[in-house]
């Protein structure tokens, strides 16, 4: 897949996240398009590209957010490292393991954002944040995880037809 195309796509996903997806709420939670895309692309066997996409997507998110610049990009790079663990074989043993990968990815992503906001002096009521934001967001992300994985697989086959992905 063309790296430039992917970087443009992930930047557009960040724009969509800030302008459109944030209106699609369950309680105060919302799906995380960039996180889902990065996770799915890493699970599709493109870990190194996903690292770069995660870095750029995270920067684009932070540009529109009160979260300090660099936090989301570092978190998304960590997410890719996590989900590409053992070259994807660990998460690829069963289709449902992809849901577990998204679960782990969300945990890393939210923990990084919450920690940075807490350090920056933003008041965080953890039980409330868990109930109203993290759990609903997690649910939405899990619902969208399999379609995201299928889309990533299809894109992977389209851009790298000769490659057998995990």
């Amino acid at each position: 897949m063309s790296l430039l195309l992917g970087l443009t796509g992930i930047s557009l996903l960040a724009v969509l996240q800030a302008s459109l997806v944030n209106h699609l709420r369950l309680v105060d939670g919302r799906p995380d398009l960039v996180l889902l895309a990065i996770t799915a692309w890493a699970l599709a066997g493109h870990a190194r590209q996903a690292l770069l996409f995660g870095f750029v997507g995270g920067l684009a998110l932070d540009l529109f957010s009160a979260v300090p610049l660099g936090v989301s990009s570092a978190a998304l790079v960590l997410v890719v490292v996590l989900v590409s663990y053992s070259e994807g074989r660990f998460w690829g043993v069963h289709p449902l393991m992809q849901l577990a990968a998204v679960l782990a990815a969300c945990a890393v992503f939210y923990a990084a954002q919450l920690s940075s906001l807490w350090v920056a002096g933003h008041p965080i009521d953890l039980p409330l944040v868990l109930n109203r934001i993290v759990l609903p967001s997690l649910f939405l992300n899990l619902v969208l995880a399999l379609p995201a994985a299928q889309t990533a697989e299809a894109l992977s086959r389209f851009f790298t037809p000769g490659q057998v992905t995990a």
Partner: protein, 276 residues
């Protein structure tokens, strides 16, 4: 083995780069670089937001449903360009309505100077309550300027770029607004709870506060100008063993449906420099 090492190396480099950007940003060295990157992204965000609002207005206007259906039937024969034009016109009409309401609000404080700006997005992080608006220092906006909607106080600007700015809503837990209750004349402080609920704290025990009372900014502290409506008292909690009363506040602004806001540009906030 080599492949794993190169991936780890790349991941480490990117994390280090993130950390470097984090530190440089904290030191304020990325200002002009951010302007360059944000400008096209903010433009894209504004374009998507306008389409979203136009589509939402079409779908959520039941009083116009029959007229819209008839119009849609008419438009089916026309090409995509015309449909796009009609969507744009409808959006302009909706914007005109909002601007008329904002103008009415502005007339209540003629001494203030306003700039109307469209809302282009929400903070991507669900843990923060702020909005992004489609104008920045190019149109004279600056840190600390108060932001109002057609019915009352929205928040204040906390970050400015050339073509885009971020507004901290009064529903963000980091926000605090000094207020005065209209009937009882009691002073208080509006603070947001982590769930976005607004409460008026620090109300004197002697004050006779009743539900429905209008709460307005007091101007104390110099962060917001006085007499901007903030909300109505919903309920009051008074405990003998506490120093102050506390009340739950229903904001006058619908924060979920903000499309255009007014920035008060001639108010000199005492807090004009962002915290390091």
């Amino acid at each position: 083995m080599t492949r794993v090492s190169s991936k780890t190396l790349l991941a480490s480099a990117l994390i280090l780069l993130s950390a470097a950007l984090f530190v440089l940003n904290l030191g304020g060295y990325l200002g002009s670089a951010r302007q360059v990157v944000v400008r096209p992204l903010a433009g894209a965000q504004q374009w998507v937001s306008q389409r979203y609002y136009a589509a939402r207005d079409l779908l959520t206007a039941p009083r116009e449903a029959s007229a819209l259906r008839a119009r849609v039937d008419e438009l089916e024969a026309q090409n995509a360009a015309l449909q796009d034009q009609i969507l744009a016109l409808e959006e302009q009409a909706a914007e005109s309505e909002i601007l008329q309401a904002l103008l009415n609000f502005a007339r209540t404080s003629p001494e203030s100077r306003y700039v109307a700006v469209s809302v282009i997005g929400l903070d991507p992080s669900p843990f923060v309550r702020s909005i992004n608006i489609g104008a920045g220092s190019d149109r004279g906006l600056a840190y600390g300027m108060p932001v109002v909607g057609e019915t009352g106080l929205v928040g204040r600007i906390i970050e400015v770029n050339a073509s885009f700015a971020r507004v901290q809503l009064i529903t963000d837990p980091q926000s605090a607004v000094n207020v005065r209750l209209q009937d009882s004349r009691a002073e208080g402080l509006v603070v947001a709870q982590p769930n976005g609920e607004l409460q008026v704290d620090l109300i004197s025990q002697e004050a006779q506060v009743s539900p429905g009372e209008l709460v307005m900014t007091s101007g104390l502290g110099g962060v917001f100008p006085p007499d901007i409506p903030v909300g109505h008292i919903v309920s009051v909690r008074t405990r003998d063993f506490e120093l102050f009363q506390r009340a739950v506040l229903e904001p006058v602004v619908d924060f979920e449906n903000l499309e255009i806001v007014l920035i008060i540009t001639n108010f000199k906030s005492v807090d004009q420099v962002p915290a390091p």
